[in-house]
Symmetry: C2
Subunit: 398 residues, 2 copies
């Protein structure tokens, strides 16, 4: 009997998308579903991006260079330089979303059986890329009570074996919204230097920091050849559907190896590269309005959550996610129940159960991730649903 | 010392793209380079595709469903049904080019160490996907003298071990242009049934068959759950830069497993899905003009090659490639020399050395792949260059 592969069997379903069929059914019944489960913002994509595509007047929709359009890479280098990140276009490869950047980083730096250490909870799709690459993620648990700060660096040191090839962080963090402090980043830097490791850093949300500032791992001194930074246009410019990201590193051997994987898949999508290049022409203050909007949404969300009985949630500093502890024993069941059996004014809320963001069994069972990607009115309506839902939930109240 | 991965080291550079820097240098000197090295047609992309993108007036460039836009999948199912291929939308997942479809097929059906049998020469990027998936390609050599017909089915049988999980064909074939006969396909069908194997089939060029007809592997009876067909919009609609393809199979377990890999990378690019969906609204006779154009180009190319001393080339029935044997000992060196040291009327030709399409060492050293993707005038000018180049080449004339 032909069967699917072991990795195909072991590959987890996306915790962000796995309840989708229940949401679809609710919508078919005419129920309004507030999507706080997925990082799909309602912020308008800058018009210059779509205009650039329309104005390109391409006769033939051709492949681009496998590394991405050269003028685009040069402008992107300029964007990083404006943030005092010392890279040029040759340090940058355009990828199909941040997703492909992560996969290529794993493929180029790690072999099957290698291990990387990742603070959990972490973006669930990392598991998928690890599975595809045949590598093992070793989690170190951060806790909701500490605001998901970096666990003590000694706990990383204890997990390092001969198979450990790197540490992987996401900063600002998805799903926690935590922004690593300079001190924490320096601790990581010293450890990867001492233990001869790579540092993979997913910096998709770097423009979204509401208190203080994000330090890019590319500015860490003395580990320039160890840092592989993954970026994306999805969140920055509310252009998730563009699937345009970048892998950035000063390590030329890694660039060369990633380039070979890039050549195998020929090129990133042409139209969206044109759109993304146009976005880089936006004025420097473009992000201020978006940042202010997300900050307002965050404050609304956290304000509402803090008033709900039995709910625990600290205010996250960055990205557009918050993790909350709910007074239920199993958020997988609760989130499903919200979609199948609960309605408030013919509406309900969709959340991402947190269990999918942990790999240590049993963790996150009473936590959820909330994406504050909707406007304030919708966030308030969604919070009305959550508040009423928690009161109405017949099972497992702790 | 941190190092790149073994797979990163072993990953081959693209034989189609590896001479690119020599071509770039020639262009910088003002030399006209005729690109017969890469399957990038000069045929105009249908205007309806670009128009659909401009007319979509998207406010937010959102993720789509990981499986692809539903209405697009339904129309694509209609396209296959019009060719008497019995599939519906649930048998179809939209992928980021045919490239991703192949990678996902490997990931979902095969584990590291598994083997697939592939007639060589084959599309070089298969090696890259095999490397990424950790699987092994076992080549069976087809020969230029036989027009690259399927090698005797017994030679496949002899290579089957306990690790063999499938056979992989490309039909019409890249790089040879060969179109497998119904008899050959039935031989493969019987073997995969007998030996309990998958049949992976890359059918990117199925619209381009100039003599006779292509039979899709999806129409092979009795092996419906074994066939994984990979399709792409790149060549069909001259939209290589769109990076839109599809994985099609009646095997639901495979669809489910591939769906998990699809979810990990979120979604295919939105704008290009809109463009591709619009292409499916083109009239049924759309391909006739393109097909007639390629046939004319093929006949021009083969006519010219057949008149060159020492050159051997049969007329291919499909795709837009031809393999030719040249009177030189090493086409890698010759193709590089054409770019660096040969000019005719300030022009030269770029070809793909065939060694990269074989995995058996030493094969293809005196062969090249020619893509007849340029207009007749350019093909003639390119053939002028090749003819003069062969006469002028100072080394290794056989």
């Amino acid at each position: 009997m032909i069967t699917i592969s072991e990795r195909g069997k072991n590959m987890p379903s996306s915790p962000i998308r796995k309840l989708a069929s229940f949401a679809d059914n609710a919508k078919k019944e005419g129920v309004k579903v507030y999507h706080l489960n997925i990082g799909q913002p309602d912020i308008e994509t800058p018009a210059v991006m779509m205009d650039a595509v329309s104005n390109a007047h391409l006769k033939v929709l051709e492949y681009t260079d496998s590394a991405g359009i050269l003028s685009f890479r040069k402008k992107l280098a300029g964007y990083y330089q404006s943030k005092e990140i010392n890279v040029d276009y040759s340090d940058i490869l355009i990828t199909i979303g941040g997703s492909e950047g992560i996969l290529f980083a794993f493929m180029a730096c790690l072999d099957a059986g290698d291990e990387i250490i990742v603070p959990e909870p972490f973006y669930a799709n990392y598991i998928g890329f690890a599975m595809a690459a045949g590598i093992k993620i070793i989690p170190i648990t951060s806790t909701i009570e500490s605001g998901f700060a970096l666990p003590p660096i000694e706990s990383f040191r204890e997990k390092i074996t001969s198979k450990t090839k790197g540490i992987f962080i996401c900063n600002p963090n998805n799903p926690t919204g935590y922004v690593y402090s300079e001190l924490e980043l320096l601790q990581i830097r010293d450890l990867i230097k001492e233990k001869d490791l790579y540092l993979f850093s997913d910096e998709a949300y770097t423009e979204f920091c509401y208190d203080g500032k994000v330090k890019s791992t590319l500015t860490l001194e003395g580990v320039e050849d160890r840092v592989i930074m993954i970026d994306t246009f999805s969140k920055k410019y509310s252009a998730c559907g563009a699937r345009i990201g970048a892998l950035v590193t000063k390590n030329k051997a890694v660039i060369e190896a990633v380039m070979k994987f890039s050549q195998a898949r020929l090129s990133p999508p042409t139209l969206e590269q044109i759109a993304a290049e146009a976005a880089l022409g936006l004025p420097a203050d473009y992000f201020e309005a978006t940042r202010a909007e997300y900050k307002k949404r965050r404050d609304t969300l956290i304000g509402r959550l803090s008033k709900m009985e039995g709910v625990y949630c600290q205010s996250p500093q960055g990205a557009f996610y918050a993790m909350a502890k709910l007074p239920v024993a199993d958020t997988d069941a609760f989130c499903q129940w919200l979609l199948t059996s609960f309605r408030k004014d013919n509406a309900t809320i969709m959340l991402a159960p947190a269990s999918g963001f942990y790999t240590t069994p049993g963790l996150g069972k009473n936590e959820v991730r909330l994406a504050y990607v909707l406007n304030e009115q919708d966030i308030n309506a969604a919070m009305d649903c959550l508040e009423a839902g928690l009161k109405a939930y017949p099972h497992n109240i702790v």
